[in-house]
């Protein structure tokens, strides 16, 4: 029952959910909209009736006293109770689960994302599983956008521009930061959004549950056919804010590892001439 009531979220037009928590956010949105619909429709009907019933022709003499019943007070108490439920029952626990209870598993994919005008730099730790250090004095917009030190842990790190690959059904922890101004990392289908504030590193974690290819088949026939997951920027960050986007590929473990290897090889080739 509980779940099926929240289900009006299916009719609200959110993009197809594709992370393990997208359902719970949708239900939450559905529940709030229930409250809104009930209030609006209820009061709306009242308004229409009143306006018809009490127009000056039908009711030439106004009643000085007006309403004496307490129904409105009950309605107000109802609103308060329902809001308390939304707040304490849903929003607060869900927020802590989604934003502030960081995963502690070992088996977790950690990525760094560094936003900049107007691109998303995705930093994978490479085979050793450790991120190399960065230094702003090494930043070079052509060859090293995040200023990565290519020694120690950093030797095998993979940095991709606007290309994020994620294995399906595995929790990912993203350390989000920004090089210049505030951006906002948004994956609408995964119900993920987080501001990237310069000077801060903010964690985001979620589990994608639908591979890109599965998603592509599901959206066939809709207006966005052929366009898969993207990282959108949700915070005004300059003139090209509207086209600051990255591409997300959610794939099976095997595919993901193959991609990582490919990138690692590419890195070695590059090493020979660049470094």
């Amino acid at each position: 029952m509980f779940e099926s009531l929240g289900n009006i979220s299916n009719y609200l037009g959110m993009p197809m959910g594709s992370s393990s928590h997208s359902q719970s956010i949708d239900f939450m949105i559905g529940w709030v909209h229930w409250l809104m619909i009930v209030l609006f429709v209820g009061w709306g009907i009242y308004l229409i009736i009143t306006v018809i019933k009490f127009n000056a022709k039908a009711n030439p003499k106004a009643n000085h006293k007006g309403v004496t019943s307490h129904i409105s007070q009950y309605a107000e108490i109802g609103v308060i109770v329902f809001e308390a439920f939304l707040l304490i029952g849903l929003s607060i626990p869900l927020y802590s689960q989604l934003k502030t209870t960081l995963p502690t598993d070992d088996d977790i994919l950690e990525i760094r994302v560094v936003a900049q005008q107007f691109a998303w730099n995705i930093h994978y730790p490479g085979a050793d599983g450790q991120f190399g250090t960065t230094d702003i004095y090494l930043v070079d917009e052509e060859s090293n956008r995040i200023g990565l030190k290519r020694d120690g842990y950093g030797t095998d790190d993979i940095v991709a521009i606007n290309q994020m690959h994620l294995p399906v059904d595995q929790q990912v922890l993203i350390h989000l930061s920004s090089k210049d101004v505030i951006h906002s990392f948004s994956l609408p289908e995964m119900r993920v959004k987080q501001d990237a504030v310069p000077g801060m590193t903010i964690p985001i974690y979620f589990t994608p549950t639908m591979t890109s290819s599965e998603f592509m088949t599901k959206i066939q026939g809709t207006a966005r056919e052929g366009k898969g997951y993207e990282i959108a920027c949700a915070q005004l960050c300059g003139n090209s804010h509207y086209r600051m986007k990255g591409y997300v590929t959610v794939e099976t473990d095997a595919e993901f590892n193959a991609w990582l290897e490919e990138e690692a090889e590419y890195l070695e080739d590059e090493d020979d001439d660049d470094w």
């Binding site: 934003k99 502030t100 960081l102 801060m200 590193t201 903010i202 964690p203």
Partner: protein, 102 residues
Amino acid sequence: MSGKDFTEHILHYRNIFIYLLIGTALTVGASYMDFNVSNSIAGAVFVGLTIATVKGYLVAANFMHLNSEKKLIHWILLLTVFFLGLLLLIPLLWDINLISNY
């Protein structure tokens, strides 16, 4: 008001002046002292601000004759001070409460 009242007032203001001077001396003195709060100046800040608050109170209550001011003014200032507290405190608490402090 009679002449006597005036002399009283004037004496009163002179006393406040002296208290304020003492307060100033204390603040300056305190800033050279070490309050032994393990390697931090929290103690000095506390002492310094407490003295400042006392001095501020002396000025507001006497020179600005707040202690005999009308109720309405007191209410307005109370409201202001409440919001002031929010403005000073919440950004601080917020900074402690960031999820990036993991």
